[in-house]
């Protein structure tokens, strides 16, 4: 089929992924092969540089996607224009004056730092509402969850901690035995999952993330 650039085909990125991954896998298990160690160190440095370059790619992507909306005057385009303006101003101040620049610091400390915890406070609000929903005892499982939750909350009350160690001991037992046991099982399973998805990616079986044109 014509019309598809060779650079848009899947074989090239898949080949790069396979070769680089295999270098790191072999280096992980074999030690003392000098060219391999140097190569992995160099590739590791490249990865750091690429991740820094990705920030620049991100900046360009944002300008393209939001610039298109501003040009088309679609929806709330003025927010897109505002985003581009603030982004370029902050980037310019940081690039010219560094992070110690007073104007850059003002934006970071007085705008970003103020807005961030304000919005983060929603997390606590929703934690409470979701806890209320989760604690509705509809079956034995929810009952156990409720019991563990209430015991933990009681154990965290300072007065209870001073008066009696019983609830604290119960809480510690819940954390150390059932909770840790379940979490360990989750973690083992998760680690295995990462190994399996790694194998799929290295072997080119998993291709959905590439998203490029089918070759």
């Amino acid at each position: 089929m014509g019309g598809i650039s060779v650079l848009r085909k899947r074989e090239i990125p898949m080949a790069i992924i396979f070769i680089i991954s295999m270098i790191f896998v072999v280096q992980y298990y074999v030690k003392g092969v000098e060219p391999l160690d140097t190569l992995t160190n160099t590739l590791g440095n490249w990865a750091i540089i690429f991740s820094a370059l990705a920030m620049g790619i991100g900046l360009i992507n944002l300008i393209i996607i939001h610039g298109r909306k501003v040009m088309d005057r679609k929806g709330e385009w003025y927010f897109d224009a505002w985003l581009i303006l603030i982004m370029l101003v902050t980037f310019g101040l940081g690039a010219i004056g560094g992070t110690e620049d007073p104007y850059y610091s003002f934006i970071f400390n007085n705008v970003y730092q103020a807005l961030s915890p304000t919005l983060f406070s929603f997390a606590y609000l929703y934690m409470c509402t979701i806890a209320v929903q989760a604690f509705r005892v509809m079956n034995w499982d929810a009952g156990l969850l409720m019991l563990a939750g209430v015991l933990t909350m009681i154990a965290n009350i300072p007065m209870v901690q001073v008066q009696t160690g019983l609830f604290v001991e119960l809480k510690n037992w819940i954390f150390a035995v059932p909770a840790r046991g379940v979490f360990t099982a989750f973690r083992i399973s998760l680690a295995l999952g990462f190994v399996l998805i790694g194998i799929r990616v290295i072997l080119g079986v998993e291709r959905g993330y590439l998203g490029v044109e089918e070759a």
């Binding site: 961030s116 304000t118 989750f186």
Partner: protein, 258 residues
């Protein structure tokens, strides 16, 4: 002088690969399709997209703030694969899809996945580029933008997959308050309780990573998951043996590390 290190790890990796080869051989040559464990979160995709189609409202999919260059990349890749499937189903059902993108570097990848999905359903003209919304790279900014999308666009369904922190809980609560049917997919162990409590359907831990393979039904993908399941049974057996040996006074952990 070259020598092997992490011999136990190498042996385990080799064992997984052996399981993989055997299961793949069984599937392709003997036509034995293993029974794959049911993933309710995956089955819910039809309901989630179908609800939006019936109500004539969009699906909102947040693809997360996951890393592309660190160990969390598996989560991000799994999120992309699920997003591709959601986009394909939306294209098939002619349902509007709004995509909340949490990391600027993801934008071209997400757009490319969506284009591919819509093209596969011959519906590329239905893809609305203004529906790719960058929601910022931090929890606070993404929360704020997604709250606004939930309020303004009134999606019928809300899908949250990929890398998240505490905002997983916040988004679940906001989605429920907006009356959305919700699904989340995460590998963040600390967020599992919130995922279960705040969302209608969830894919947590290894299930989330396996979803990509379960969607495709491709023999190499299914074999990969089946090999993992077999390996898991082996691990459980080893853990039981280890517990018994430790109880009898044998410390086997010293033989497992080199």
């Amino acid at each position: 002088m070259a020598y092997l290190k992490n011999i136990v790890g190498l042996a385990l990796l080799a064992l997984i690969m052996v399981f993989y080869v055997i299961t793949y051989w069984l599937i392709t040559r003997k036509k034995v399709m293993p029974k794959f464990r049911t993933l309710p979160g995956l089955l819910a995709l039809d309901e989630i997209v179908g609800r939006a189609t019936e109500m004539g409202r969009p699906v909102l999919h947040s693809t997360g703030r996951g890393a592309l260059y660190s160990s969390g990349v598996g989560t991000t890749l799994a999120s992309f694969v699920i997003y591709g499937e959601v986009a394909r189903r939306c294209a098939k059902m002619k349902t509007e899809l709004i995509t909340a993108i949490g990391t600027a570097e993801h934008i071209p990848i997400i757009q490319s996945i969506a284009e591919n999905a819509y093209r596969s359903e011959n519906a590329l003209e239905e893809l609305k580029y203004e529906n790719f919304v960058f929601v910022g790279g931090s929890q606070s900014s993404s929360n704020a933008r997604i709250f606004a999308l939930l309020e303004q666009r009134k999606p019928a369904s809300f899908i949250v997959t990929g890398g998240y922190g505490a905002d997983l809980c916040t988004l679940g609560g906001a989605g429920r308050a907006a009356g959305c049917l919700s699904l989340c997919g995460t590998t963040n162990t600390y967020q599992y309780p919130y995922a279960v409590a705040a969302y209608d359907y969830w894919l947590i831990g290894e299930d989330f990573l396996a979803t990509a393979a379960a969607i495709s039904k491709d023999p190499p993908q299914v074999a990969n998951i089946w090999a993992g399941d077999l390996f898991r049974f082996l691990l459980v057996g080893l853990i039981v043996i280890g517990v018994v040996l430790a109880w009898l006074g044998f410390n086997i952990s010293e033989y497992l590390t080199i």
